[in-house]
C-alpha cells in the first residue's frame, strides 16, 4: 500500500442511514474500496469475500454484538478495527480497547475526527514501515537537520550527537509538534516518573538540546518554552 486511500474499508452498522453517511464521508475523503454491512452475518460474508484492510464496527448489531464479531475477525486476521458505537460507557470503551481494537469512537462524532483517526490507524498499520523518509530526510530546523534514527544533528559546522534522553525529548516534542507538551508528559517519556525532583534535570537537558538544534540557544526559535506549562516544538516546513 502506497497511500492511505488505497485501503479497503468495511463499514458495519445496523442503521442504513448512518451506513450511507459513513460511506459518503469516506468516499468524499478519497477512499476507493468501501464495503457496507448492516448485520453480523452480512459482515462475515463481506469479510470473507473482500478481505478488507480495515473495519469500522458498530457494537450493537441486530444479530449479535460487535465485540464477539471483533474477536472472530481478529482470530482470522490482524487487520485494524475501529469501534464506532453509541455506547459511551467507560466500561464499553475499555472492553473494546482491551480486546485489542485500534480505536474506539463514540457517536455522535465529527466526520473530520473519524477521518483523521482512520488515517492515523492506516498510517500506523500499513505505511509506517514504508515511510522511513521522515527519519531519512530528517527534521529540518532552519539550517540544522535532526536525524532521529542516527541520533544526530547536522549543523553547518558539522554533525553533533544527541544523547538518548535528548533524543527522547525531541521525539516526544516532534510527535506533538505545534502543541505544548507539559513538563510532566516529558518527564514521563524520559524517566517514567513525575515532574517533581526532575525540574532542574529537565531544564539542563532542554538547554543542551537547544545548544544542538538552535542557531541562537539564548533566543530559541524551535524549542519554545510555554512558561509554567511545558515546551513546544514550533511548526515549520520539514525537509
Amino acid at each position: 500500500m502506497k497511500h492511505i486511500y488505497e485501503c479497503s474499508i468495511l463499514i458495519v452498522d445496523d442503521n442504513p442511514q448512518l451506513l450511507d453517511m459513513l460511506f459518503s464521508i469516506l468516499q468524499k475523503e478519497g477512499y476507493q474500496s468501501l464495503y457496507k454491512a448492516s448485520s453480523c452475518r452480512e459482515a462475515r460474508s463481506v469479510f470473507a469475500r473482500e478481505t478488507p484492510d480495515l473495519i469500522i464496527l458498530d457494537v450493537m448489531l441486530p444479530d449479535g454484538d460487535g465485540f464477539s464479531l471483533f474477536q472472530e475477525f481478529r482470530a482470522a486476521s490482524d487487520i485494524p478495527i475501529l469501534f464506532l458505537s453509541a455506547k459511551d460507557q467507560d466500561n464499553d470503551r475499555l472492553l473494546g480497547l482491551g480486546l485489542g481494537a485500534d480505536d474506539y469512537l463514540t457517536k455522535p462524532f465529527l466526520p473530520r475526527e473519524l477521518t483523521l483517526r482512520l488515517a492515523a490507524i492506516i498510517r500506523r498499520t500499513y505505511l509506517s514501515g514504508s515511510h522511513p523518509q521522515k527519519e531519512e530526510t530528517g527534521l529540518k530546523l532552519g539550517s540544522r537537520t535532526v536525524y532521529f534514527e542516527r541520533g544526530t544533528v547536522d549543523t553547518p559546522k558539522g554533525s553533533v550527537s544527541l544523547t538518548a534522553k535528548e533524543l527522547l525529548i525531541l521525539k516526544k516534542l516532534f510527535e506533538n509538534r505545534g502543541n505544548i507538551v507539559t513538563f510532566d508528559a516529558l518527564c514521563d517519556t524520559v524517566w517514567g516518573d513525575g515532574y517533581y525532583t526532575y525540574e532542574n534535570t529537565l531544564m539542563v537537558h532542554i538547554r543542551r538540546l537547544r545548544e544542538k538544534i538552535e542557531e541562537d540557544p539564548s533566543h530559541p526559535r524551535w524549542l519554545l518554552t510555554a512558561r509554567g506549562i511545558g515546551y513546544r516544538l514550533a511548526q515549520e516546513e520539514r525537509a
Partner: protein, 503 residues
C-alpha cells in the same frame, strides 16, 4: 457499644445510690424515733413511772387503804383493775377486781405474773410498803416479749452495725452488677441492631427476654428501611438507566445530523448562508452531544453509580495539562491564561479520578471562556491551604451571578435546575444575546458537575462573592499521605492532549 456500657454503669450506680438513700432515710427515721421515745420517757406520765405513782397513791392509815382520787380515776379510765398483795400472798386491797382473778397467790404465781400475764391481763407490779402493788391493763392491749442480750453483744453492737451495713452495701452492689450485666447482655443485641440500622439491611435480632418488644420493633423498622432503600434504589436506577438509555438512543440520530451538517457545510454548491446554517446545526448538535454527556455524568454522580477510578494524581500535573489543552486547542486571542503553581504543590498528590478532576477544572475554565466573548484574563492559582490542595479559578470577566450559585445548591429534583432557567434569566438581564439560541443548561450543569466531582473527592467548593457576582471559584481537595501515594506514583502522569476534545 460504649454508650451501652455507660448506660449499664449508670444503672448500677443508680441502683446502689437508691439503696443507700433508702437505707440512710431509714437510719434517720430510726434515730428520730429513738430520740422521741427517750424524750417521751422523760415526761411525767410515762408508763413505768405511772405504775410507781399509782403504787405511791395507795396509802395505809393503820386500818384502811385509801387511794388518791386522781389515781382512782386513772385506774378506772386506763386499767382493768389494781390490787395489793401482802407478803403472805393474800389480796388485801383491790379496785375493779374481776371475779376470775384469784385472791391468794403463791410465789410461783407472783413470779409468773410479774413478767407475763394474769389470766390474760397484762400486768405491771411495783413495790409497796405493805406488799406488792399490781396494776393490770385490759386484755389484748399490750404485747409482752422477753428480750435478752449478752452484754458483750451489746458492747460490740456499734462495730457489728458497721460491718452489717457494709455487707448490705456490698450485696446491693453485687446484685446491681448482676442485674446490670443481665441488662447489658439483653441490650447488647438491640444496641448492635440500632448501630446497624444505617446499613439499611434487614435485622434479625432475637426477640426474647426483657428486650423482646424492642427487638421486634427494631426488626420491623429495619425491614421497613430496607424496603424503602430498595424502592429508592429502584427509582434512582430507573432514572439513571432512563437517562443513559435516552442518551444512547439520541446518539445515532445526532451522529447523522452532525455528519450531514458537516457535509453541507463543506458543500461548495451551497451558498454562504446555507453553509452558515449547516455550521450552526453542527455546532448546536455538538452542544447537544456535550449536554447529553453532562446529563449522563451528573445523573450518575448524583446517584453514586459512577465508578471512580481513584489513583494518586498530581494536581500540578493536571493543571499544566489543562493549560496545555487550552493552548493547544486554540485559546482565542482575547483570552489570557495564567497558571501559577506554588512550588510546594509539586510534591503533593491527591487520591482522585484524574479524568473527573480534569473535567471539573476544565468546566470552570471553559465557563470563563464561554461566558466572556469579549475576552478576559483567566488565572489559575494552586497551592496548599489548611492542609488541603487549594486551586483557585479567577477571571476578570462578568463572573457567576449569585442566582446561578443559589440554583446549584437547590435539590436536584427542583424544576428549573437542569434547565438552568435562573441562570438564563440572570444572563439575559445583563443584555446577553450571543447565546440566546443556545441552551443555557450546560453552564449550570457544568458547575453542578464540578460540585459533584469535588464532593465525590471529599473536597470543598467555595464561591467567593463580590457584590452578588463570583469571580473566583476555589476547589480544595484532601492531600494524600506520602507513603500511600508512593506505590501509585507512576499513574499520576497525564497525556498532554486529551484524545477526544469534548468542548
Amino acid at each position: 457499644m460504649k454508650d451501652l456500657l455507660k448506660i449499664c454503669r449508670r444503672y448500677i450506680m443508680t441502683a446502689v445510690l437508691t439503696i443507700c438513700f433508702v437505707l440512710g432515710i431509714n437510719i434517720l427515721f430510726l434515730f428520730v424515733y429513738l430520740i422521741r421515745e427517750n424524750m417521751y420517757k422523760s415526761e411525767p406520765y410515762y408508763y413505768n413511772w405511772r405504775t410507781e405513782r399509782l403504787a405511791e397513791s395507795l396509802a395505809w392509815d393503820g386500818e384502811n387503804y385509801s387511794l388518791f382520787p386522781e389515781a382512782a380515776e386513772k385506774i378506772d379510765a386506763d386499767y382493768a383493775f389494781a390490787m395489793l398483795i401482802d407478803p403472805e400472798g393474800q389480796v388485801v386491797w383491790s379496785r375493779n377486781l374481776p371475779e376470775e382473778i384469784p385472791l391468794s397467790y403463791s410465789l410461783n404465781d407472783i413470779a409468773s405474773m410479774s413478767r407475763w400475764y394474769l389470766k390474760d391481763y397484762p400486768v405491771k407490779v411495783w413495790e409497796h410498803p405493805r406488799g406488792l402493788f399490781v396494776a393490770a391493763q385490759p386484755k389484748n392491749s399490750v404485747a409482752k416479749y422477753d428480750m435478752e442480750f449478752r452484754i458483750s453483744t451489746l458492747k460490740s453492737f456499734p462495730s457489728y452495725l458497721g460491718a452489717y451495713l457494709l455487707c448490705n452495701l456490698l450485696m446491693v452492689f453485687l446484685l446491681s452488677l448482676f442485674f446490670g450485666v443481665r441488662l447489658y447482655k439483653s441490650l447488647k443485641s438491640v444496641a448492635g441492631g440500632i448501630e446497624n440500622l444505617h446499613l439499611q439491611k434487614p435485622l434479625n435480632l432475637p426477640e426474647r427476654g426483657m428486650t423482646a418488644t424492642l427487638a421486634q420493633k427494631l426488626n420491623d423498622a429495619s425491614i421497613l428501611l430496607f424496603r424503602q432503600k430498595l424502592a429508592l434504589d429502584k427509582r434512582d436506577n430507573a432514572r439513571t438507566e432512563w437517562i443513559s438509555g435516552v442518551s444512547h438512543d439520541i446518539r445515532t440520530p445526532l451522529a447523522l445530523i452532525m455528519g450531514h451538517a458537516d457535509s453541507l457545510e463543506q458543500n461548495s454548491s451551497l451558498d454562504e448562508e446555507g453553509r452558515k446554517e449547516a455550521a450552526s446545526i453542527r455546532e448546536n448538535s455538538l452542544q447537544i452531544r456535550n449536554l447529553i454527556s453532562d446529563l449522563n455524568l451528573t445523573s450518575k454522580l448524583e446517584y453514586d453509580s459512577y465508578p471512580l477510578r481513584l489513583v494518586s494524581c498530581s494536581p500540578a500535573a493536571l493543571l499544566r495539562s489543562l493549560a496545555a489543552w487550552h493552548m493547544n486547542n486554540g485559546l482565542p486571542e482575547q483570552f489570557q491564561l495564567e497558571l501559577n503553581i506554588s512550588p510546594e504543590l509539586e510534591r503533593v498528590t491527591v487520591l482522585g479520578d484524574a479524568d473527573l478532576l480534569t473535567r471539573a477544572f476544565r468546566n470552570l475554565t471553559t465557563n470563563s471562556i464561554r461566558h466572556n466573548p469579549k475576552g478576559c484574563l483567566i488565572q489559575i492559582r494552586a497551592g496548599k491551604c489548611r492542609g488541603m490542595t487549594e486551586i483557585s479559578f479567577f477571571d476578570t470577566g462578568r463572573g457567576i451571578p449569585v442566582a446561578v450559585i443559589k440554583t446549584l445548591y437547590r435539590p436536584v429534583s427542583r424544576p428549573g435546575v437542569h434547565t438552568g432557567q435562573p441562570e438564563e434569566k440572570g444572563r439575559a438581564a445583563e443584555g446577553k444575546t450571543s447565546r440566546s439560541s443556545a441552551p443555557a443548561a450546560p453552564h449550570v450543569m457544568g458547575l453542578r458537575i464540578v460540585k459533584q466531582i469535588v464532593e465525590a473527592h471529599h473536597g470543598e467548593l467555595e464561591f467567593e462573592l463580590q457584590k452578588d457576582v463570583c469571580h473566583c471559584v476555589k476547589i480544595r481537595l484532601p492531600i494524600q499521605e506520602p507513603e500511600k501515594a508512593e506505590p501509585e506514583k507512576k499513574s499520576l502522569l497525564r497525556r498532554e492532549k486529551p484524545a477526544a476534545p469534548r468542548e
